[in-house]
Symmetry: C2
Subunit: 414 residues, 2 copies
Amino acid sequence: MKNLKGALIFGQSGGPTSVINASAAGVFTEALKNKNITAVYGAAHGIKGVLDEKLYDMSKEDKKELMLLKNTPSSALGSVRYKLKSAEVDETDYIRILEVFKKYNVRYFFYNGGNDSMDTCNKISKYLIKNGYDCNVIGVPKTVDNDLFGTDHCPGFGSAAKYIATTIMELSLDARVYDKGQITIIEIMGRNAGWLAASASLANMKGHGADLIYLPEIPFCLDKFLKDVKRVTEANNGKCIVAVSEGVKDKDGNYISEVLSNANKAKDGFGHTQLGGLSAGLADFASKNFNMKVRGIELSLMQRCGAHLASAVDVEEAFLAGQTAVRVATSGETDKIVVFKCCREKGYKCTVELMDVALAANTEKTVPLEWIINDGTMVSEEFVKYALPLIQGESKAPLEDGLPRFAKLKKILA
Amino acid sequence: MKNLKGALIFGQSGGPTSVINASAAGVFTEALKNKNITAVYGAAHGIKGVLDEKLYDMSKEDKKELMLLKNTPSSALGSVRYKLKSAEVDETDYIRILEVFKKYNVRYFFYNGGNDSMDTCNKISKYLIKNGYDCNVIGVPKTVDNDLFGTDHCPGFGSAAKYIATTIMELSLDARVYDKGQITIIEIMGRNAGWLAASASLANMKGHGADLIYLPEIPFCLDKFLKDVKRVTEANNGKCIVAVSEGVKDKDGNYISEVLSNANKAKDGFGHTQLGGLSAGLADFASKNFNMKVRGIELSLMQRCGAHLASAVDVEEAFLAGQTAVRVATSGETDKIVVFKCCREKGYKCTVELMDVALAANTEKTVPLEWIINDGTMVSEEFVKYALPLIQGESKAPLEDGLPRFAKLKKILA
């Protein structure tokens, strides 16, 4: 536990979220008032900004703009998907990072991301320790996918879940207006974890949800899908709303989007890739089997950048995670990630704790199988109890001319 | 001008919007307190509900739920796309409508929809006049496409424009986070009118908009599209955000979505229809011509049902249009449509007027060509001045459990 004096670098990594900048706001505002932190830098495009020595001097930004980051979606500093090789295999990047850290006297390094980014964070942390360079390294969690191990949930998930549930309520009303059959297939993000797709069930609670919810935790069978849809349309005046995770796979582990794409390729013999994603592919597949309108809808990037529907709980927790990183690092903690521990009895309570960053690296946390019910087509009340507190409240950018006023950073290089 | 005493039927027709139910709320709340109106019916699925005698007794609904309709998206009564044949060609439907009107002593008939629906409204009105049946018929305008002739704008447009502009601001931030080229193609509704696609320019005003905006008013050329995108990516660090109307056509009047689909069909010789819509097709086309990531995004149904982003101006005007229909009809007006006349000098002012419903039937109002600039890739400040007042303010459903509380109707048949 070393109390260090020096500069801080904060980087954003991986797919952006509605609240990743709220964590940045937490880091920057807290760091700028800490006397042990001599300079506050934002790395352009995550670790790439360190390697390229593209560091923004955050002390040059207006305080008001830094607070507006709380409600500005996407990664304001720029993001990156860059996986560091193991230092044993190739030390080049590490040598460069250490060189930059020494040049700017960097004694605090925070990295904001999901499990891949925590791998980066862990590798840098271990390399610095091994090389005797004092620098407190803290991971700040972030991912809409909610698949990070060791934390009750991740900043970014609550807002995406609120976007998905609200949008499915609206789509569910829209997709049922005509007096004839219609199948609507809504594709939701989440890679190999079904947390986001499961959020469709929050809309069900309000009576305007999805009839079928498919998560990647359960093998997806195209024949069973047809039977499920048939059952619902027959019981439901020809209407069926399906929420499906982009990451559903067949029993052999092949992504269904690829299975459908390959089936089409085999058919036309030209090897064309299928246009659109899973929802388009499933809609095409269903339309060949049902004599009614089938519409595929992809919630696409909107679900992860829809800051106008951010959850206040999520925004505040993301900010807190950033603040906490500064507080614990300046108290001498290193090689850790900020995690949430939550209690849902007698009201929702969330506290921040620390965990070894190595534990969060590269591990995927998926939806408990016992929460998946109705023969793999729905999630249980347990999920609703888990997710509902995370979508509460509203927090969004002030409006100017009826549109959000997002943060404007000067981004002055150090 | 006849002041009649009798029942009222209100029907919703065509594609739903975020605020079509706000007009319903205006009609129902105003009609239920008018002593000349002896019964208030909502027709299930528009004119089909009249033909099938499926009429909901709106007096049985809770007043609180009727007011919640103001912020409930989609058509609460159910909608329909049903084009009445000319009475000269086939009188069957008209005879049935008159029969139902007589049975329920219907003296007020209001129909809420776009230009196709105003055609229905006009035909029924003229038939009733011709057959000497006293019934005041009023059209209530509605369409996200904003293509209705004779009114400054249509209820539904402002909220969809606000959704589109806000979403494009968020997408624009998200699509620019990585330090490498990326082309993002966003498909927007509007059929043959570019009002909705033009709304992307409201996001530009805020500095987070689209680099290229293509409207259906100008012929779309795939080669020029590639040149436009090339120019933008070269000037813009490899990034390009495109907003394109679903209705863009080539110089011969063929929809580009079909042109791309036919090109693929010709290529694979199997006549497969293209999956996904225009954005997927254009993304596929662009990805063959640019060595960078290309993503197609369809705003799909979300843009017309995103009531959580409704404009307060739009909600109030939609409500007013419904209220006005009742007030003018009970004052003896018939065969008219409620239209908006607006002034934008010294602040925005909107007043309601009446126009012969025949004038609104089947006419499409498109974006003035002089508002389309930069060689057909942008809209001018004139459009912004026109549209900006329409997206002002917020009006949405109260939240329960962090999610919207939409109206719950009992729908008790008369």
